[in-house]
Symmetry: C2
Subunit: 182 residues, 2 copies
């Protein structure tokens, strides 16, 4: 087992790149720790994201289907989204669950975070567990969203997972949290 840790790269300078609204490109010039060559790398600055594992009183999981523009397909995922400016990620989790599914909860637990892609993104994705989730209102998605809510029991979630119905890497991590809870 090798224990030596690679050196940090030294950032020489940064310049702003194009702003894509959901994220903003930045070009960093960094010095390789061994060759000392300066290399240009792109980083996409992004707000944090949240995912919500919402389980009803009878242990059903609240899921969403929506058309995703990257893969140009309808996907099955957990509710979630971007943390708004000035919002903390717990508030964002409550808001996204309510907006996308109409569900609310008074029993929240933090399950941890991952880095969606530490190579090119600077943000975290937080996963929140909402227990005893209940339908509070009609879903109220944003103007740019079109979402269908699906509530699945334990066996159906396990089957969907085995069938490869979950493909979004961050949704897979959220669903694995549920399977672990079960």
């Amino acid at each position: 087992m090798t224990k030596n840790v690679p050196a940090h790269w030294k950032k020489i300078r940064s310049e702003a790149g194009p702003d894509f609204v959901i994220m903003k490109a930045r070009h960093d010039y960094l010095e390789h720790p061994r060759s000392h060559q300066v290399m240009k790398r792109v980083v996409f600055e992004s707000t944090d994201w949240v995912n919500v594992v919402a389980l009803t009183e009878d242990e059903q999981l609240v899921l969403v289907r929506q058309f995703r523009f990257g893969v140009e397909k309808v996907t099955l995922e957990v509710p979630g989204g971007m943390v708004d400016p000035g919002e903390d990620h717990f508030e964002a989790a409550r808001r996204e669950l309510l907006e996308e599914t109409g569900f609310a909860s008074e029993d929240w637990h933090y399950l941890g975070y991952v880095e969606p892609n530490p190579a090119i993104l600077d943000n975290h994705c937080h996963t929140w567990l909402a227990r005893k989730a209940f339908r509070q209102q009609e879903p109220n998605p944003e103007a740019g969203e079109d979402i269908t809510v699906e509530v699945l029991g334990k066996d159906a979630v396990k089957q969907a997972y085995r069938d490869g119905a979950f493909r979004h890497s961050l949704a897979v991590i959220a669903v694995l949290h549920v399977l672990e809870l079960w």
Copy 2:
């Protein structure tokens, strides 16, 4: 359980955005299926990625530490990278394992794929399992990489996972495959 599936959005037109070498931005104009409003969305066109779960004969996991430019920290991950043009993802898995760690294997198994981010990326990340991995040569990372190899046994991997040492979402998925195998 609601079974209706949301409609696909109709793509009106696309225009090329900036080319970031590792990915290329594209702006799509799509019609919302209900409001019929046309909205602009960014998609980052990217080659597929691969991750390798490499286990030695005595069930040790081959890992890499490297400085990641997005989070500006050294991360612990499984070896992996981008599929090169003209390469298939199995070849890419063998190449990345050898380049980044110096390890090779003659016992490969496909573990499936995820979509790293179907909202903004059009690519897949494939996970390959290499059993009976052995050190074939010195690592030979690309000019823009500086990587340290770490080989950890079962208990150390479990402890590292519990300690939150793995943060890259795609590496977490790869490590969860290993924990499932164990």
